[in-house]
């Protein structure tokens, strides 16, 4: 039991570090001022990965029934896809 929790702590710590790195990456892209479809796709992809980590590990959906995985990850994927579609539609 305690051993289980220690390894869960370790996994969450690694994810937290990766989430911070991903945030710095997003910030750096913003400071660079670049835009366009490739950059928008990259940033949405980063948001999708970050959200997936939070849903599966922090919210413990990774251990939840399949239906809840589909609902929560489906929400994230649908929102990111529709944002991507709107950006593609609004390319200057």
């Amino acid at each position: 039991m305690r051993h289980d929790i220690r390894s869960a702590d370790r996994r969450s710590t690694v994810l937290w570090v990766l989430l911070i790195i991903a945030t710095v990456l997003t910030w750096a892209v913003g400071e660079g001022g670049a835009g366009g479809p490739a950059i928008a796709t990259l940033l949405l992809g980063i948001a999708l990965l970050k959200g997936t980590a939070v849903i599966l590990d922090f919210m413990a959906i990774g251990r939840a029934p399949l239906l809840w995985k589909l609902i929560t990850l489906g929400w994230l994927a649908l929102v990111c896809a529709l944002i991507g579609l709107a950006y593609w539609k609004g390319m200057p």
Partner: protein, 201 residues
Amino acid sequence: MDSTAVIAARTAPRSHRPARLAGDLAIWFFILAELLAFGVFFIAYAFARANNPELFAAEQMALNRDAGAINTVLLLTASYFVVRAVHAAEAGRSPVGARWLLAALACAGGFVAVKFAEYAAAFSAGISLSSSTFHMFYLSLTFFHFMHVILGMVILGALWVNSRKGRYDAHNMNGLESGAAYWHMVDLVWLVLFPLVYVIR
């Protein structure tokens, strides 16, 4: 106290546990309603931008991305501390969990302070809900989220009080897990909001 079946599901070795939602079913329905509301708001922003990408890009460039990124780090860190609090309580160390919750509250307080500074700068620059479509979305989206941070802090405060009293352990996790799930939702929507409003153009 949680039901016997729930306790059995939680105290078995992690790899052998049946699939289970962490927290109360009611809080998860509430979370889904929140996710739906934020999702509609985000998509409305994206399609409104499609009608006027140049204006959105110019005004977006003037936002304080440092503040947005610092707030992302603060929310992620608060979420991580809440995870540690849940793990500590599960290991029977509820008072240790209380200290993690206090650290999470400090991060949330930092978010509020940064947000206040950001709003103060925006208002003194003459930005208001009616100054442009972009500013209308920027202010209303971030303020809608801000209200959720405040509610999340009230919840974290209640969890902290109970954890200090040693109320949570492997046999009684429902309240702690429910509050934690709500806080992670507040973090999750910001992870989409930050790139959407501050960065992607």
